[in-house]
């Protein structure tokens, strides 16, 4: 009985979570523009989508900013984590607290504060400002995912490496980095997804025709329900699904091989 109840509960939960997305996807194939009635199957909204100039530019900027900002924030974050880990006392907690600010601050406050900074210093609002902003808000997450790994690190290992004649740089490269790699990868992925998905901070720091997908969707949605947005969301959902399946499969495979390896010993 209890089992059934919990099954029904989860079923309702999943309906609640997925019904809107499925409805969105179904209506992307509706021939009619109006959402009230179904007039027939059509792919015309997809064709219209691929001809839309705004969406093409937005896609370009979204992806390039996500790639560049996540790479830079991963590098910056990794180096900074190494440094922060060796800081001591008040200095360390001060840096950590400032680093934590963009995480706890509402996005809108981060967004406007960066906008004020750029405009006060007469910087061109555009690609560069958006890129900097994305690095600003994603680096703290990179650091937060690497620091715990650094804490777990066995200090003796580095010292052993140094005793055996490794230069500090060599020790970092060969001993520390491989150990904190999972943290770096998590940080990179977090930075990437945060950047792809960001709306609010980009909204305040965009300019000169540089937009991202979220901003385009926002300005389209403000005008009402558009089947082209439905088409766009269907595509985005499919991409996410495929990506997630690949990641899942890979991690399953990895854990399997790991288990096998462990079993062998």
């Amino acid at each position: 009985m209890k089992k059934y109840l919990s099954r029904i509960y989860m079923l309702i939960m999943y309906i609640f979570l997925y019904a809107p997305i499925i409805v969105l996807a179904i209506y992307s194939f509706n021939e009619s523009k109006s959402r009230g009635n179904w007039t027939g199957f059509s792919l015309k909204w997809y064709i219209e989508l691929f001809q839309d100039r705004d969406i093409k530019t937005a896609l370009y900027y979204t992806v390039s900013i996500a790639i560049i900002s996540s790479i830079i924030s991963t590098i910056l974050g990794t180096i900074a984590s190494l440094g922060i880990n060796s800081l001591k006392g008040n200095m360390k907690s001060l840096v950590l607290n400032i680093n934590y600010l963009p995480v706890v601050n509402p996005d809108i406050v981060t967004g406007i504060s960066l906008m004020i900074l750029y405009i006060s210093f007469n910087m061109d609002l555009g690609f560069n400002t958006m890129l900097i902003s994305h690095i600003v808000f994603s680096t703290p997450y990179v650091i937060l995912s690497i620091l715990p790994k650094l804490k777990q690190l066995d200090k003796n290992m580095t010292e052993a490496a140094l005793d055996l004649g490794a230069t500090p740089m060599y020790a970092i490269r060969k001993v520390i980095i491989p150990e904190i790699k999972p943290g770096i990868i998590t940080g990179f992925l977090t930075a990437f997804t945060l950047s792809i998905d960001d709306f609010i901070i980009s909204y305040f720091t965009k300019g000169e025709g540089v937009t991202n997908l979220s901003i385009v969707i926002y300005s389209m949605a403000r005008r009402g329900v558009r089947p082209t947005i439905n088409a766009l969301s269907t595509i985005m959902l499919t991409v996410v699904l495929i990506l997630m399946l690949i990641i899942n499969k890979r991690s399953n495979l990895e854990s399997k091989t790991k288990n096998q390896r462990e079993a062998r010993y």
């Binding site: 523009k33 790639i67 560049i68 790479i71 006060s120 690609f127 300019g207 300005s219 009402g224 329900v225």
Partner: protein, 348 residues
């Protein structure tokens, strides 16, 4: 790992160079225009013809545009916006004089759109489209025996009225209903209008800019305060819809292209303005934005159906009663403050 970081660096350098290639090799033109106010293929066409890149930016109300253009760092080359904002920007020295030798298409602009108060000597602006403000309504739901702004205050249509989130336009409706000028600089009149708009708030379904036609086409609301072109486009998709220009008088507006002082390439900007105001471009834009044209030659080629639509071919007797927005100078702050207060007011 080192390899990967290295690869990452190379990748980012490639991307960076790619982005800078596409922006720096060609000349660029930064254009700022209303949302949905152009046939977008025209932009790509101009880019191709002249081998330039256009960075196209949009906004939804002139107030938003002004903030963008005023921001210290902006470097727009062409801005298309409403006449009262142009007047304000000219007064504040934000607009360059145009070299009309580069804009021969200016000769086709109808005489009634030249020498207007915002640019009395035709030095700064090239008119783009014109139109008016009115009520788009559903014929099956609204009784329009009296063509008045008071329709928007009719309690029978509780939660079926769409208003604009645009301060000047909303105040225009209220001020006209009270019998005042929509350019009033009298604080008492403005307060009365504010009280009226506050009284209306419980009846309003939503405050939306640009989204009203969609809701009206779907018959999800009875009426909406809209600009004339929005009405034309909605009426073309749902024949139950009609448009009235209230008898108390409405607003006549002209949107025009200007070149702000921030431009780095005035000649190219002028070329773009000329391109946009050619007959062909105008005709293609009409099909996209549905506003009334200022282009005398293009008007001759507009199809019959459109000419019969009174939201496109606005009747003279209505025009006579219309008023153009003027820049209320510092007084504009009082408009903004009151509008923010109206939007901030709690209902329920």
């Amino acid at each position: 790992m080192r390899k990967k970081i290295f690869l990452g660096l190379i990748l980012s350098i490639i991307i960076l160079s790619l982005t800078s290639c596409s922006t720096e090799e060609k000349e660029t033109l930064n254009v700022l225009n209303y949302d949905i106010y152009i046939d977008k293929t025209l932009i790509s066409e101009f880019e191709k013809e002249n081998n330039v890149t256009i960075k196209y930016d949009t906004y939804s109300t002139p107030e938003e545009m002004y903030i963008k253009a005023k921001a210290g760092a902006s470097n727009y080359d062409v801005i298309i916006t409403g006449e009262y904002m142009i007047e304000r920007m000219i007064n504040e020295g934000m607009v360059n004089k145009l070299n009309f030798d580069n804009i021969p298409n200016f000769q086709y602009v109808g005489e009634q759109f030249k020498n207007q108060p915002y640019d009395p000597n035709n030095e700064y602006a090239v008119p783009y489209f014109w139109g008016t403000l009115g009520i788009l309504y559903n014929k099956n739901a609204v009784d329009t025996s009296q063509k008045s702004w008071s329709l928007l205050w009719n309690e029978k249509h509780n939660q079926r009225i769409i208003m604009m989130d645009s301060q000047r336009d909303s105040f225009a409706a209220a001020l006209k209903l009270l019998g005042y000028s929509m350019n009033t600089v009298n604080e008492k009149e403005l307060d009365e209008a504010k009280a009226l708009l506050l009284k209306q708030k419980p009846l309003v379904m939503a405050y939306i800019t640009d989204g009203a036609p969609d809701i009206m086409i779907n018959e999800e609301a009875d009426m909406a305060l809209v600009w004339s072109g929005e009405a034309v486009s909605a009426m073309s998709e749902n024949e139950n819809l009609d448009f009235i220009i209230p008898e108390e008088g409405s607003n006549i507006w002209i949107d025009a292209a200007i070149i702000p002082t921030t431009t780095k390439n005035q000649e190219l900007a002028e070329k773009f303005i000329n391109f946009l105001t050619s007959k062909e471009a105008t005709l293609r834009n009409i099909d996209e934005v549905w506003y009334s044209t200022v282009h005398t030659e293009a008007l001759k080629e507009v199809n019959e159906e459109l000419l019969e639509n009174h939201a496109f071919n606005i009747p003279n007797e209505d025009i006579e009663k219309m008023e153009m927005f003027r820049d209320p100078k510092e007084f504009i702050d009082l408009y903004s403050k009151r509008w923010t207060e109206i939007m901030a007011d709690k209902i329920d």
